[in-house]
Amino acid sequence: MVSLQVRQVYFSYLNGLVLHNINLFIKAGEMVGLIGPNGSGKTTLIKLASGVLKPKRGEIRLDGSSLSQLSRKSIARSVAVVPQQFHIPFAFTVNEVVTLGRIPFLKAFAGESKADSQLVANALELVGITELRERRFDELSGGERQKVILAMALAQQPKLLLLDEPIVHLDIAHQIEILELIRRLNVERGLTVIGAMHDLNLAALYFDRLVLLKEGRVSADGTPAQVLTETRIKEVFSASVRVEPHQVTGVPHIIIMPKENIDKSGSS
């Protein structure tokens, strides 16, 4: 369980400013969703939080210690990242891929210990893919692969889990399954989770706190009900929607309002 503090962070790629004065404090054990239009800086913020990108100005602190002071290895021992997808050009088995998650803890010439193998087995079990362990990673479906990557991240025993739109390529059953699992890890084990999310309804359902980014700035930060208002979505996404409370959970539920009248009743 760690907290993450983002202080006055600016970031730009070669061709322009991407993040502008971002300030966020994410408490240990929180589950925070990053939402916003394409290009608003969600992925960049996740990469900054993982330490693979460095802020141009400002700093990011992981439980009080600045990321720029920590080695990659020590960051990898507490922070794991699940990206949209990994392409692996060689024919690793599922077990081998999940075992990659132990790399931050291994010494150069030593193999995995029994404890490492046990952690890998636990991660497979937790994600519910133990029966896939001898299958080849590249033969799996997209949803199964993403579960393997999640298991790999969990084998890292992270205290902070960063998700970069981890479910965009998946069908709805896999999306729900993965989000429920992450939610359970957050609730039961206090795992801090920060996830960039595309689907606003899923974000509202599974995340306690949402941070809305617009053109590299924080436009809103709060509970789903506070952030996902009709006017704000219209303003930030330039999309025409209606927001109603979810019939069961009461969180905001976004209903897309087509600009043109689409009549599919078949009465014409």
Binding site: R72, F86, F92, E96, I103, F109
Partner: protein, 352 residues
């Protein structure tokens, strides 16, 4: 059967089998050639020299000289070249995440070839550590080219893989053009075209133990050093970003792996010219039969590469004896069908 064994036992078993194969290849390659010496005699000679045995010599003194002064250094160089190229192949394929990569992909071959060609033209007879100008120029040419390619591809503190491949291709083409230009005017330059061809096709040219004393530590050190990066290469399978998420210092380790692979390649080409196929096909074959985990892949490829090149060189020496065929021709002729067989037989193929 291999899959069922525990990882460590499997590793030991595979390495023992391959190591045994290498030793058998070594003995076979010593027995045959322009003069055939019976295997039991070679075994006795070896035991006399290495283990302090005292078998009466049932062989001619000249045979012993042939074995220990001519054939053995050559066979051992073959093993070193094969092991170095196969290891470099694993390093480059793993780092570049490109199954089509080989040790020559970022310009080592073109650099070495141009270096060697220029050295052949120069009327200088320089000898350093037992090496003439040509192997030294090949070694230097390979390394200088890689350094050039790396720096050309470097932008803003990073060296993207794709830029490196492109820069490697462009620089290789340029150097090859210069070399072909020199060849085209060879008459005016006192350049022996046949020597250039011999270098380009690959020919193991070690003649003395003194040269081996320089090359062997370099290659063996490089192979042991490569094993240090097994985890890093496994992590690189996820791409550079994925490797970084697993705690790898991507840019630092990239330059270390490149340096190691280039050094191994340069050492190999300096004594053998451009032997093709070994660095491409051996890592593939080993990966297809044993899986992609670099902890096993690296040492297994080194042993398999060494054994393979010993056999290829033996065939090159005896098939049209006393004429020697370039060993590079044999590596391709043996390597290609074997590789095809593996590709079709195995179920652990690649995910392109």
């Amino acid at each position: 059967m291999l899959i069922k064994l525990r990882r460590r036992n499997r590793l030991v078993l595979v390495l023992l089998l391959l190591g045994g194969g290498l030793v058998v290849a070594l003995f076979l390659a010593n027995a045959f050639g322009a003069v055939n010496v019976p295997l039991p005699d070679i075994l006795k000679m070896a035991l006399n020299r290495l283990a302090g045995f005292d078998f009466p010599s049932t062989w001619r003194a000249v045979d012993e000289t042939i074995i220990f002064q001519i054939r053995l250094p050559r066979v051992i160089s073959g093993a070193l070249v094969g092991a170095a190229l196969a290891t470099a192949g694993v390093l480059f394929q793993g780092l570049l995440r490109n199954p089509m990569a080989d040790p020559y992909i970022i310009g080592t071959s073109a650099g070495a070839a141009l270096g060697a060609t220029v050295a052949m033209m120069l009327p200088v007879n320089l000898v350093f550590l037992g090496f003439g100008l040509v192997p030294m120029a090949a070694f230097g040419g390979a390394l200088v080219t890689v350094i050039l390619v790396y720096n050309l591809a470097r932008v803003g503190g990073k060296t993207p893989i794709i830029s490196m491949l492109l820069a490697g291709f462009v620089v290789s083409s340029l150097l090859a053009a210069v070399m072909m230009f020199l060849m085209s005017i060879s008459g005016r330059l006192n350049l022996n075209i046949h020597s250039v061809y011999s270098f380009l096709m690959g020919n193991i040219s070690v003649t003395s133990w003194g040269q081996l004393a320089v090359i062997a530590p370099l290659v063996i050190g490089g192979i042991i050093g490569a094993r240090f990066f097994a985890f890093h290469l496994n992590a690189f399978s996820l791409g550079e970003e994925g490797a970084a998420y697993l705690g790898i210092e991507v840019e630092k380790d990239k330059i270390r792996i490149l340096a190691l692979g280039s050094l191994l390649t340069a050492a190999a080409v300096s004594i053998s010219g451009l032997v093709g196929f070994v660095g491409l096909v051996v890592p593939h074959a080993v990966r297809l039969s044993l899986g992609p985990d670099h902890r096993l892949l690296l040492p297994a490829s080194a042993l398999a590469g060494g054994g393979f090149l010993i056999i290829a060189d033996l065939v090159a020496r005896i098939i049209l004896a006393p004429v020697e065929i370039p060993v590079g021709v044999i590596t391709a002729i043996i390597g290609a069908p074997f590789f095809l067989y593996l590709l079709r037989r195995t179920r652990r193929e690649y995910a392109f």
